[in-house]
Amino acid sequence: MKISKGTGEFDTFPKFLLRNAKVFGTRPAMRHKDFGIWQTWSWAEILEEVRCYSLGLQAIGMNKGDKVAVVGANRPRLYWTFAAVQALGGVPVPVYADSVAEEMVYVLQHAEVRFAVVQDQEQVDKLLSIKDQLPKLEYIIYDWERGLGAYDESFLHHIVALQEKGRQVLAKDGDVDWLAGIARGKGEDLSVMLYTSGTTGKPKGVMLSYDNLVLSSQNANKFDNFDENDEIIAYLPLAWVGDHIFSYGQSMTAGYCVCCPESPETVTENRREIAPTYFFAPPRVFEGLLTDIMVRMEDASPLKQKMFHYYLGVAKKVGERVLDGKKVSIIDRLNYQLGELLVYGPLKNRLGMTRMKVGYTAGEAIGPEIFSFYRSLGMNLKQLYGQTEASVYVTAQPDGQISADTVGTPSIDVEIEISDSGEVMYRSPGVFMGYYKNKKATNETKTKEGWVHTGDAGFIDGNGHLRIIDRAKDVGKLNNGSMFPPKYIENKLKFFPNIKEAVAIGDGRDYVAVLLNIDLQPVANWAERNNIAYASYQELANHPEVYEMMGEHISQVNLDLASEERVAGAQISRFLVLHKELDADDGELTRTQKVRRSFINERYSPLIEALYDGTSQKYVETEVVFEDGRKGSISATVQIRDAQTHAPSSIKEAAE
């Protein structure tokens, strides 16, 4: 159906909800697996739930402009919270649920939240532990009552109880005022505040208006033809702008169904059951799935392994050409069909990607081999480039114009420019209102004309596609003058299933060195098959044979780098394998699992020194934070090795 633009009749999400209940009434709007069964709500039912919930919130005193923290996993009631709060003119502030208490304090203080809607006892306890530091926080509302029976704090409410309260209000006074409140909402109003994960410094509260989100969502729906018949699975953090757009904004505007998994551990299984038509995942999810497939295949029977690898070869040869509608010989085409029957079909079914119309990956560069792997199986996987400040969409790849190293053409209504310094800048209807209570940062990021600095270095190629090289401030130089793009090197390393995380160092140094994290699952599997005994992650990471294996991987990456003129000088000279996994709880990764470079440089400075002073081992002690916030420390003697490098001229011979 045709939907008028955001400036028209429907310009806020509560208005869209009213429309959806009318237009799509009995169509499924949301599913949630509970007690092993998929429960479904229609749009009309969602409206009822939201209406009672909203009236209940009003009854305990929620007013226009109140900030409401939302903390938890992807559960229906938390999504309803967005609409219920927005209907009253309040502003939801989703917060990363796995943040430890101290991290949460900053965001909740800064956002001045008056209400917090949280998932369960764990989150309630977390909030109670920091409540003294949050004078503005008046009410805590929870979704799952388990374990909370004995809590008698008067400011604690169960969502169901609030809905009951709302139902009484509805029976007594009706909802005329409530509807009038929604009608008063305007497109330029503040819709949501999303705190950026903050690769550097304190998180900033990005204020997005309804116009930002509604227009961006509508444009995205138009770009990939999403309508009420589509279905997605919501599994990414609520506090991340992507989830807010895919699971809330686009669902509200297109009317498609959002499915909430049973628990975070069952996402893969639930995805198989639902088979979403639209799927978004950061590269690491695709990497993880591929690693998982490969590990499982190694345990399969020889015949199956043979068949699997043969047809993967076929797919590699012709799969992407078939997908892009290019010319393929009849024999290859038939063979590919057979492969679909024997391998790709069952595999896609296993991954829950049988019905996938469009899949997106973004957030970080995806390994070209990984990207091609999925595409060659016949999945329409594309890349997009986005930011919280842009309501996600800056560029996206149109169907048929896909390649692993571009991020596509500007999305609908988006203008792009490359500044003189090589930085990518954009302007669009999705451009944020500003950072909450941070004029300075707003002015630094957004120009008067509405252009936004992305902080990424990139260029537009001959076909009008944007290519991102690295974070503008991360691209450095070695002392001998060669270019040093850390992420570029790290991504090449991370393509190996055995390497989970890599951190490259080299700016202002004589050579490039890397810190590696092994990926426990494949490496443990490998150790088991090779009779290598180990007691802990630390011991395995420090095992000489693991070092041997890592050395081979690095040599391969160096060979790869040697073949590219621009980065041949950035070959890796020395490396070490870290004794612990990089973890967001320790501040080493952001909550979206990106490496915090400067923090790691500081934290592991003794190790980094050792990489450059020629020692072969180093004793370190590292403080770690457990999930419940307690601290401990682990110590280890980390080995440091030299890596095999390749002369740019000897590429051909070495490759033979």
């Binding site: 007690f35 092993g36 388990r146 374990g147």
Partner: protein
Amino acid sequence: MNAHDRNLPTSDDGISAGAELLSVDNVTLRFGGVTAIQDISFNINKGEVRAIIGPNGAGKTSMLNVINGFYHPQEGTIRFRGETRRKMKPYEAAASGIARTFQNVALFTGMSTLDNIMSGRSLKMNQNFLTQMFYYGPARNEEIEHRKKVEEIIDFLEIQHIRRQPVGKLPYGLQKRVELGRALAMEPDLLLLDEPMAGMNLEEKEDMSRFIIEVNQEYGTTIALIEHDMGVVMDLADRVVVLDYGKKIADGTPDEVQSSQEVIDAYLGVPH
């Protein structure tokens, strides 16, 4: 943190919270010439968490086996819900509301988590083999009813992701959780846990402690547990009975037990 003194729900057996549910009176158990348990008496009150501790070979597991009817003591009696018994088969104990888990996990390794927990419901099933075979009418309704209960337990123990996996392939910590699930499926009045945390890491222990507390508080299930981790015992238990060489050497609140010289000697050894 023994905050168990709130109003505990009473089940329909007429025993109110805090009253005696089970009592062991002067029990002696011998295997040939070896005396495993010697003249031990203690009781378990409804709604409490009762810990049985002691060094290796003290007779803790034998004590549990006596309570659930696996061993028959040569002397002494067991009184459960006011009924005195001398000999009782394990299945009779199960039918009367006593469920247990084992020190070394004893699950059906080839069956899924779901089926294992479902097997805990078998005592509550009324349909016979024939009607179940045809899965029709009452049999079907009954199955659905039980499945619902089992799903609640799966939800409670947060093991949705392993619902369909054969338990033999699961890590030990999860197997322990499944075993607890199977015991809970019986909706017992008295739950006997034999070293529920053995071989677990800190995080798994914390999870398990949380489940035990919740079973106790939310369902009002009386729990008797054997445990070696003193931290866990002191946190969970309302009352502790300490055994050493088959004899009871102390009985009381965790604090009392902890400060008893005899207990300290038993654990740390005394110079001879």
